[in-house]
């Protein structure tokens, strides 16, 4: 599969900027994010913690309080810029067109209501049509219909013993079950886009595998596009067709998975790959010298240059453009006109 798809993208993010106003001043967390997502595509969004992966997701979903986070740019979904929508308008998209699951599944289930209570409410919100259908088919009450649908959705994600589960509370189930349940609730409105924010990081490896398989199946069956946010390149490799590497609020390189691993272009990507497999927040820093830049006064030009072995004079001055190579999109001065040779020479 190549970056240049014939079909048009389901979600298109153009120059997305998010600025946080804190006691510490204004922080530019997202500094112009660009990427597009195609139906049934699974896109990995990788990068060190604090590079703005989650913020990207949440700004797309408009989950951040306005007074804290100012957003600019475009998040296009079939011709509508989601950033222009009010919270109210946005709600008609959430869960129906675009949905999200979070890192800690248990914490993201309301602890004082039964799972059933919560999923039923979502069924009522998103599946009005089905409810009437089921009612007419089985001639049962609305309540019964809702129960049926809720159960069905839970079974779809491979949960067994559903009735009992619906009576359970968050603290009574395992992380794996919780995440399956969350997925069920997230996709029951058949969204076109599902954002999975570190969806498997908190789970142990075997469970991880199950969840990954589940997500794959989903995108295949319902041809849902998935943005899979992770700091674990290994998982990205297993799951995704496309990988976007983020660094300090920018996407520095996008490429088909195989391509990226075979031939990473951006120095940062290379650094990351060197760190695989035991890449993780703590050890990550050891392989790329220096630390994540201080967002209060980010480095001029290319935000990576202080840590870049190949940094050139212009990196300090100019913000690198997004360069399209034959298979990659990369955001580095090494690859804009005139410097290609040099780059190839090095790689």
């Amino acid at each position: 599969m190549s970056v240049k798809q014939k079909e048009k993208p389901i979600l298109e993010v153009k120059d997305l900027v998010a600025e946080f106003t804190t006691a510490a001043g204004r922080l530019r967390i997202l500094d112009g994010i660009d990427f597009s997502l195609f139906p049934a595509e699974i896109l990995a969004l990788v990068g060190e913690t604090g590079c703005g992966k989650s913020v990207t997701a949440k700004s797309i979903m408009n989950l951040l309080a306005e007074q804290v986070c100012k957003r600019r740019g475009k998040v296009m979904m079939d011709g509508v810029n989601l950033l222009d929508l009010s919270k109210k308008q946005m709600r008609s998209y959430l869960g129906r067109r675009i949905s999200m699951i979070f890192q800690n599944p248990i914490a993201s289930i309301n602890p004082v209501f039964t799972l059933g209570e919560q999923i039923r409410r979502l069924v009522r919100i998103h599946m009005a049509g089905e409810i009437t259908r089921v009612k007419s088919e089985l001639g049962c009450t609305t309540a019964a219909a809702i129960d049926r649908l809720a159960a069905a959705n839970l079974e779809k994600v491979g949960l067994t013993d559903v009735d009992q589960l619906m009576r359970a509370y968050a603290h009574q189930i395992s992380g794996g079950m919780a995440q399956r349940y969350r997925i069920a609730t997230a996709v029951l409105g058949n969204p076109d886009v599902l954002i999975a924010d570190e969806a498997t990081s908190a789970l142990d490896v075997t469970v991880q595998a199950h969840i990954l398989r589940l997500l794959k199946r989903l995108s295949a069956e319902k041809n849902t596009a998935i943005i899979f946010i992770t700091h674990d390149l290994g998982i990205a490799a297993q799951l995704c067709q496309q990988v976007a590497v983020m660094y300090s609020g920018r996407i520095v390189e996008v490429a088909p998975t195989a391509e990226l691993f075979k031939n990473p272009l951006h120095p940062y990507t290379r650094g990351l790959l060197k760190a695989v497999p035991q890449l993780s927040r703590k050890t990550g820093l050891e392989h790329i010298p220096g630390t994540i830049p201080d967002l209060r006064n980010p480095p001029s030009g290319c935000r990576f240059h202080p840590r870049c072995r190949q940094a050139m004079e212009r990196c300090r001055r100019l913000r690198p453009p997004l360069v399209e190579t034959k298979s990659h999109q990369v955001c580095c001065h090494l690859y804009d006109a005139g410097n290609k040779e040099a780059a190839w020479a090095k790689s």
């Binding site: 006691a23 001043g25 050891e286």
Partner: protein, 298 residues
């Protein structure tokens, strides 16, 4: 670790430290920018100064200390007596100033003593679960469920009424709250940190516990003490009002309200000024405490 690594860690540590200091500076500024906090602080400072320098601040220090002045009984508010005089002709303002000493230093003493007793016990109870924990919390429960007024009476009948007995009577049911909170805090942190410790191998649990524990505890205690100041001051006032606190002719806001209450209809100022003073002081403490809490929670 190699030489190089060590250097790098050192560098990182310094950077982190710098970060931290900077964070705090910025937050402090933001904190003081809040009007309410600043106002509260101002009030507190003023009253405290007045209390400390009472002899200089009070227009009639001797009357503040209780000397009667029958020439000017029950004077209304005037230039000579800004807040009027009471039934012994004593200048209310002067008595307020001297009364502030009781409220502020009494309150301070209670809160500090309660913390000094409660925190260590709480730490002990929380750290060594089992017997000590149970015993301490049981004792605490009993003392808490014991009306302070009755304790005060008991003490008063033995060593006589006075600020001392009032303060003691209040400390006795006060410290258990600290013990309780700290115990809970310790337990919570233990759970939390042991989970982490399990993840990041190598570190000794107790090492982690104490490296993380004490700072956290100290913050909690600080906020608690600040928020307890108001209640402590009110409690002293309550006992004073019942005549179980400061003894006449000394000044104490609660006592002054009691002395003034009978004249509430003809000379309302006698009872209202000390009551209002108490209200303002406590309010200031509460507002300041709230702000500080937000500030510490970041």
């Amino acid at each position: 670790m190699t030489m190089k690594d060590e250097l790098k860690y050192k560098h990182l540590a310094e950077q982190a430290a710098r970060e931290h200091r900077r964070e705090r500076k910025i937050r402090t500024i933001a904190f003081l920018k809040r009007k309410s906090a600043a106002a509260a602080l101002l009030v507190l400072v003023l009253i405290t100064l007045a209390a400390v320098f009472a002899p200089l601040v009070a227009p009639y220090p001797d009357q503040g200390k209780g000397a009667v002045n029958l020439g000017e009984r029950l004077q209304p508010l005037s230039g000579k007596h800004l807040l009027g005089t009471d039934t012994f002709g004593r200048d209310i303002l002067s008595r307020l100033v001297y009364g502030a000493r009781v409220s502020i230093f009494g309150g301070l003493f209670i809160v500090c003593a309660a913390a000094l007793i409660g925190v260590p016990l709480g730490l002990w109870a929380g750290y060594s679960e089992g017997a000590p924990g149970v015993v301490i919390s049981r004792i605490g429960e009993i003392l808490i469920s014991f009306p302070a007024v009755l304790i005060a009476i008991a003490i008063t009948t033995v060593i006589g009424a006075g600020l001392t007995s009032a303060v003691i009577a209040l400390i006795i049911p006060w410290w258990p709250w600290y013990a309780r909170i700290i115990q809970g805090e310790v337990l919570r942190l233990k759970r939390m940190l042991f989970v982490e410790a399990a993840q990041m191998l190598g570190y000794g649990k107790s090492y982690i516990l104490f490296r993380h524990l004490l700072p956290n505890i100290m913050r909690t205690v600080m906020v608690m003490m600040l928020l307890d100041f108001g209640p402590a001051i009110i409690s002293i006032g309550l006992l004073g009002f019942l005549g179980l606190g400061t003894q006449p002719p000394n000044a104490d806001w609660g006592l002054m309200v009691w002395e003034g209450a009978p004249n509430l209809m003809q000379q309302p100022w006698i009872a209202i000024s000390p009551g209002a003073a108490m209200f303002i002081l406590v309010m200031a403490f509460n507002i300041f405490g709230d702000n500080l809490q937000d500030y510490l929670d970041g």
